[in-house]
């Protein structure tokens, strides 16, 4: 199974990279871009796991390892069940 986890700063937390990218795009004339937030994406290959198990496992991994819940939030989805 392929799953995708997106980790990004909580909305109330400063995102210096996103802010700097926004400014750079403005300097380059891309004025339609109001705001950019930058995060991380993790694509995981899981094996021998049912959808049900994935629903427990993936959030656990995201919470414990991939994101620091104090400043980050995460989202996830199944890309392919195979």
């Amino acid at each position: 199974m392929k799953v995708r986890i997106l980790v990004s700063f909580k909305d109330s937390v400063l995102d210096p990279q996103g802010q700097t990218v926004t400014n750079a795009l403005h300097t380059m004339g891309y004025d339609a871009v109001m705001n950019v937030r930058q995060g991380k994406v993790f694509d995981l290959d899981l094996e021998g796991v049912t959808r049900k198990e994935a629903e427990a496992l993936v959030p656990e991994i995201a919470h414990r390892v991939l994101a620091n819940p104090i400043i980050e939030k995460f989202d996830w989805e199944i890309l392919k069940v195979r």
Binding site: P16, Q17, T20, V21, A24, Q38
Partner: protein, 246 residues
């Protein structure tokens, strides 16, 4: 002859390069501001180390869009000498003046230490004060110095002899252990095909005074000065070779 050191927001070895060129090598040197369009008539542009734009997004990615860099591109295409040190090298890669890209160091750690590099080509404008095979001891300080190029590009670079420096042991042997950041082919520095643009990860400006532990970095500055000053017809009447760049 005159050097120009480019200042991006977040550059932090700009004054170090300036100090090495002006106070140690004793050559006229000016600072060039990234928002300007004016290269102030310099003969050599130095892109210093640091964290231009915080290295956010990707190393060198935002700096390459600076107004001044468009001038630097034209300058380089016209044969002007451009030296990119560390972050400056990364900017040159992003700008496309040099081939390839940088990945994170293989251990995913910032590395600050002295390394040995072997001069692969002593005929360039950046190495003519050195001997081929000479080993220089110069510090590195970077997080993204793991040089990468697609297979075909790498083959071309090697075939054209564009690799100017390789990480090596103190005795000059090129080993996997000496390749601290995981670069392809132990590459520490490359030039463009024309030979007027060079990028390297080690910091020659940090190895230009005996007090700081090594003077090996001076070789690179001395080479540049040699090649630039020889261009002057007054000094070297038979300026046939240099004329190519004018």
């Amino acid at each position: 002859m005159k050097f120009g050191v480019v200042q991006f927001p977040g550059s932090n070895c700009d004054f170090d390069a300036f100090h090495a060129l002006r106070n140690v090598m004793k050559r006229p040197t000016v600072m060039l501001w990234h928002k300007d369009h004016d290269l102030q008539g310099v003969d050599c542009v130095v892109l210093p180390g640091g964290f231009a734009y915080g290295d956010y997004l990707r190393v060198g990615a935002i700096a390459r869009f600076s107004p001044l860099m468009q001038e630097v591109r034209t300058f380089a295409r016209g044969g002007g000498r451009v030296l990119g040190i560390c972050n400056g090298f990364q900017v040159l890669l992003e700008l496309g003046l040099l081939p390839g890209a940088m990945l994170r160091n293989k251990d995913l750690k910032f590395l600050c230490q002295h390394v040995h590099i072997r001069v692969e080509d002593a005929k360039t404008d950046f190495t003519r004060a050195a001997r081929k095979g000479q080993v220089l001891r110069i510090p590195i300080a970077h997080f993204d110095g793991n040089y990468y190029a697609p297979a075909r590009t790498l083959r071309d670079i090697e075939r054209n002899g564009q690799v100017v420096f390789r990480y090596c042991e103190a005795d000059g042997t090129v080993t996997a252990e000496a390749n601290v950041n995981g670069s392809m082919g132990n590459i520490a520095g490359i030039r463009n095909t024309e030979g007027n643009v060079l990028g390297l990860m080690p910091h020659p400006e940090r190895a230009s005074e005996a007090l700081l532990g090594s003077e090996d970095g001076r070789t690179i500055f001395e080479s540049l000065i040699l090649s630039l000053e020889r261009r002057k017809p007054a000094r070297r009447p038979a300026a046939g070779k240099a004329a190519r760049h004018d």
